[in-house]
């Protein structure tokens, strides 16, 4: 498992610097228009998405096939992606938060949306990851884009549904509490996806 994570770390690190810098620059630009805390979401999500790219590139260069011949189980191969996804999401949120903090310090303004964007970062990352990771394992690499579109569509739909249900059915109108509930649900969905993927994905397409 450690070796699989190390391999993902090396391959992601090799490609991430330029992508990360672009995200930060774009996020700083957008933060002037929207809110500095938007940086958190704009760094965390692309960073977590790098795991999806590693699954696709693993297939392309036959590492997935080779990994099955190594002394690791298929469950460990799948779990390594879920762990890497969490790692990059958390790192993205930390980097985003740091950039946000610097912007707030430099501009000397306050931002009441920090909690909201933090919450959305966790929700969107985890919900989309719950679908993208298994989709990328199951679908052939040429259809990986379909998996990504499907994952984000499902995420948007679920997010809208959760907000509606929490407001209308449970009767909670406080945004922070709503986000906290949806964050908890996202964590559960992510763990369920992890569990099912380990159990059900036998052939890596």
């Amino acid at each position: 498992m450690k070796g699989l994570l190390l391999k993902d770390f090396y391959t992601t690190k090799a490609n991430i610097l330029v992508a990360l810098l672009s995200c930060v620059v774009m996020a700083i630009g957008l933060s002037i228009v929207i809110s500095p805390s938007v940086v958190i979401i704009l760094v965390a999500i692309p960073l977590s998405m790098t795991v999806s790219s590693t699954i696709i590139s693993d297939k392309k260069n036959k590492w997935t096939q080779f990994a099955i011949t190594l002394p690791v189980t298929k469950k460990q191969i799948i779990s390594s992606k879920y762990i890497a996804y969490l790692f990059w999401t958390v790192l993205g949120m930390l980097v985003g938060s740091l950039v946000c903090y610097i912007i707030l310090k430099v501009t000397n303004i306050t931002d009441e949306y920090i909690n909201m964007f933090m919450g959305f970062s966790i929700i969107i990352s985890l919900l989309s990851g719950s679908f993208i990771i298994p989709c990328n394992f199951i679908l052939p690499e040429e259809n990986s884009l379909i998996g990504t579109i499907l994952a984000y569509s499902m995420t948007s739909g679920m997010l809208a549904l959760f907000i509606y249900l929490i407001k209308k059915v449970i009767g909670v109108s406080n945004m922070n509490l709503t986000l906290l509930i949806i964050c908890s649900i996202s964590v559960i969905v992510y763990l369920i996806s992890w569990y099912i993927s380990q159990k059900k994905i036998k052939n890596f397409n």
Binding site: G3, L6, K7, Y10, F66, I68, T69, L70
Partner: protein, 286 residues
């Protein structure tokens, strides 16, 4: 303790357009076994089902004294695998690959890995994507030989390589089987490579094992008879395995070369190469 490094019994895998049909064969310890067959014959499917890359519908695989049908991680430690082309993330360097594999194989031999890199003149710090096909193949073989493997499984490991690199690789493989417990199962289109190093040849055609023979038996016992129609009609049909009608003459694949040479003294009897046998089975008539 079994005499076989690998034993397959009745492996079956069904696809919509292809069936791997009850494939059974053995790889005796200390031997090199060549798996031959045309494209799509089922060689890679066989190797992939041995390695659990694809799930087989039925049949058993026993590897290196492992009694369980599923390969355990302990057994995987002892199997070195080389696929056609690159197996590794292209952004890694051999040095980083060493760090990755060191954390995966409990028997990883870092020093041996670096020695092999040096022997093959492979740079430690160059990204794999900048390697030529031959360099990538040498890297794969270096990896396969750096964790005390006892069984190497190679899928088209020498295809697309120039003769010099191929010869280097064949030498390495011959060195590997000098240890009596080490064995190799190697699929290849390049039958001349197998003629040089294999002890046994298994021929797969349309998902079925057609024969499993000692290479020397194939070379010395099989032959090609060449004759005109009249002579062809005189030959007992039970003696011909396959034949081809080549415009003005017949070419006939036969088994007991010496015996038939005496029986049909007026017919030309040629020695045979593994490639000829394969061609006769694929293109010839029964």
């Amino acid at each position: 303790m079994s005499n076989y490094a690998l034993k397959l019994t009745n492996i079956t895998k069904k696809y919509d357009d292809f069936i791997l049909d009850n494939v059974s064969f053995n790889v005796p310890k200390g031997n090199i076994v060549g798996l031959i067959g045309e494209n799509g014959a089922g060689k890679s499917t066989t190797l992939n089902s041995i390695l659990d890359i694809i799930e087989r519908d039925s049949g058993n695989v026993f590897i290196l004294d492992s009694e369980k049908n599923k390969i355990s991680n302990a057994t995987r430690e002892k199997i070195g695998v080389v696929f056609d082309g690159n197996n590794f993330p292209e952004d890694l360097t051999p040095q980083k690959l060493n760090n990755v594999l060191k954390a995966i194989y409990s028997n990883w031999e870092e020093q041996k890995f670096y020695e092999l890199l040096e022997k093959f003149s492979l740079p430690k710090n160059k990204k794999i994507k900048k390697f030529s096909k031959g360099m990538k193949m040498k890297l794969s073989i270096s990896v396969a030989l750096s964790h005390k493997a006892q069984l190497l499984i190679l899928d088209e490991a020498t295809s697309g390589l120039d003769p010099v690199v191929r010869d280097d690789i064949l030498d390495i493989l011959l060195d590997f089987v000098q240890e009596e417990n080490n064995s190799i199962l190697m699929s290849s289109h390049i039958t001349s490579d197998l003629e040089k190093i294999a002890d046994y040849i298994i021929f797969i055609h349309k998902g079925k094992v057609i024969f499993e023979e000692k290479k020397d038996n194939l070379i010395y016992n099989y032959g090609i008879m060449k004759c005109k129609l009249k002579a062809f009609n005189d030959i007992e049909k039970k003696e011909l395995i396959r034949y081809r009608n080549m415009d003005y003459r017949y070419e006939i694949l036969i088994k007991n070369k010496k015996e038939l040479e005496k029986k049909y003294p007026n017919v030309i009897m040629d020695n045979i190469k593994i490639e000829d046998i394969m061609l006769m089975y694929v293109k010839g008539c029964e």
